[in-house]
């Protein structure tokens, strides 16, 4: 198994770097082309959510994104400080939430309802787990790999 981990200060600019890394590593892990957009969006949503949580709670700790390949799966975990109050996997109707965002809410609010980002991810990614304990929340997403990873598994440098 090969792992690459990115830890970044809670700044929105770093979410772009996290996406770039995830996209590059996922491509190298032979994730299918059409799923790469899914990886990119899922990482973007989970990392921006994590950064938002740290910023809004005044937490300076880094956010961790961990990418790993294990047998036939490519896994991304995004870990932030803070425990989730509600069960984020509780189904949110995205269509209903969108029209609610449009109908309700202050005119100067440009945010989708709380939980919307994670709901988008759970709509995209089949293999999704959110765990929250010990003061940390982990969003874990997996994708099947087209084949084993000769690229990442080469035994020696030369």
């Amino acid at each position: 198994m090969s792992t690459i981990e990115v830890r970044f200060s809670p700044l929105t600019a770093h979410v772009r770097t996290a996406r770039l890394v995830a996209l590059s590593v996922a491509r190298r892990a032979r994730i299918e082309e059409e799923q790469l957009d899914e990886v990119r969006l899922a990482v973007g949503e989970t990392c921006s959510r994590a950064v938002g949580v740290h910023i809004s709670r005044g937490v300076d700790d880094p956010i961790t994104m961990r990418l790993s390949d294990e047998r036939d799966h490519f896994t991304i975990e995004v870990i932030n400080t803070g425990t989730l109050a509600d069960d984020p996997t509780a189904a949110m109707d995205l269509v209903e939430a969108s029209s609610r965002a449009l109908a309700e809410g202050a005119l100067d609010s440009d945010s989708m309802p709380a939980g919307f980002g994670l709901a988008v991810v759970s709509g995209l990614v089949e293999d999704l787990f959110v765990t929250s304990d010990g003061g940390r929340t982990t969003v874990r997403m997996s994708w099947p790999m087209a084949s084993a990873l000769p690229d990442l598994a080469e035994p020696t440098a030369s």
């Binding site: 979410v15 957009d37 269509v95 969108s98 005119l107 980002g117 988008v120």
Partner: protein
């Protein structure tokens, strides 16, 4: 925000160039075309929001946001577009989108926002459709 008001009627009224997110604004009759390029995410969305707020503050309520050169859009970006729509609607305006890219259309589809925004596959179609369509 650097604003260049150009003298030429056919050039962009405003050009905000940035490797992360560029925004170019021009008039087309009574419509205002906001051409965006780059990635619209938690980092750049505030900038797009500012541009939309400025336009509405300047009395421009018939907007077309051209997303053809956008290669990433997340829920924060959607929030800004929904916010823009709320603002122009409060002035009986409109916000049309130009987007033919499947990867971008997908997030509009799964969130039901394809029913909320008139989405056109090119700018001519958006202009031809008229603001009220």
């Amino acid at each position: 925000m650097v604003v260049h008001w150009k003298l030429h009627r056919d050039g962009p009224m405003e050009e905000d160039v940035d490797p992360d997110l560029s925004v170019s604004i021009r008039s087309e009759g009574d419509r205002t075309v906001v051409a965006v390029s780059g990635e619209i995410d938690v980092y750049t969305a505030p900038k797009l929001r500012e541009h939309l707020i400025d336009l509405v503050a300047n009395g421009q309520y018939q907007l077309i946001v051209d997303l053809e050169a956008v290669d990433f859009l997340d829920s924060t970006g959607l929030g800004v577009l929904v916010g823009g729509l709320k603002r122009v609607r409060s002035h009986d305006g409109s916000l049309h989108l130009v987007c033919s890219q499947d990867r971008i259309l997908k997030i509009f589809r799964i969130t039901g926002l394809t029913k909320v925004f008139p989405i056109h596959s090119n700018i001519d179609e958006a202009l031809a459709a008229g603001a009220d369509s």
